[in-house]
């Protein structure tokens, strides 16, 4: 059971470099999310999407971009990486509804910007 798959698992970036975190899900979920997790801060929503072609900003979108060309894929782009973007990134998905449906998470991507 694949569920939500993220790549890469670990990455070291130099300041100013760019990269894309890939996320794909095989559960045919309309809703997809990108969170970042910093120690003691819990999960902060970066961007989310309610369906192909539709994306919206979350709580901490600055420095990131997303696209949603298919139901399955929701890549997160980091432009001009900064040390403040050192974090663990989680992609997640769920089926639409009135908030009672479970969110399913990927295993995370550990990013260090040096």
């Amino acid at each position: 059971n694949a569920g939500v798959t993220q790549t890469p698992k670990f990455r070291i970036l130099k300041i100013g470099q760019s990269m894309t975190l890939q996320c794909t899900q095989d559960m045919n979920h309309n809703y997809m999310y990108w969170y970042r997790q910093d120690p003691g801060m819990g999960l902060k929503l970066i961007y989310y999407s309610v369906g192909a072609g539709i994306t919206d900003k979350g709580e901490v979108p600055n420095g990131y971009n997303v696209s949603r060309s298919t139901t399955e894929d929701f890549p997160l782009r980091l432009e001009l990486a900064a040390p403040s973007q050192t974090s663990v990134y989680f992609c997640a998905s769920r089926s639409p509804g009135t908030g009672g449906n479970t969110i399913y998470f990927g295993e995370g991507s550990w990013l260090t910007v040096v």
């Binding site: 809703y31 009135t98 908030g99």
Partner: protein, 115 residues
């Protein structure tokens, strides 16, 4: 917007002792409530959730939580913990809207089970 408070950032407990992890949320309107667990170097997985009905909810691995509407709380309990329960636990709240952006997570409680 909702807010979720997990007052205890770290909870050490001896093996086979009971544990309670506290969660309070901000709004008294209708909400859905969740507890997620994160084992080291892994993603979050669902422990249990409350949508409606009985206020006592049972989840996986012997955990249960009780919804208290008057106190806007959803505390997680386990009568006897094991070493394998060492993990980070997140409380989450969802409102019944259908905007796609209705989940709110607490800052997490790190449970350490001591042998």
């Amino acid at each position: 917007a909702q807010s979720v408070t997990q007052l205890d950032s770290q909870v050490p407990v001896f093996e086979e002792a009971p544990v309670e992890l506290r969660c309070n949320y901000s709004s008294s309107v209708s909400v859905y409530l969740f507890w997620y667990v994160q084992y080291p170097n892994q993603g979050l997985q669902l422990l249990l959730k409350y949508l409606s009905g009985s206020t006592l909810v049972k989840g996986i691995n012997g955990f249960e939580a009780e919804f208290n509407k008057s106190q806007t709380s959803f505390h997680l309990r386990k009568p006897s913990v094991h070493i394998s329960d060492t993990a980070e636990y997140f409380c989450a709240v969802s409102d019944p809207s259908n905007t796609g952006n209705q989940f709110y997570f607490g800052t997490g409680t790190s449970l350490t089970v001591i042998p």
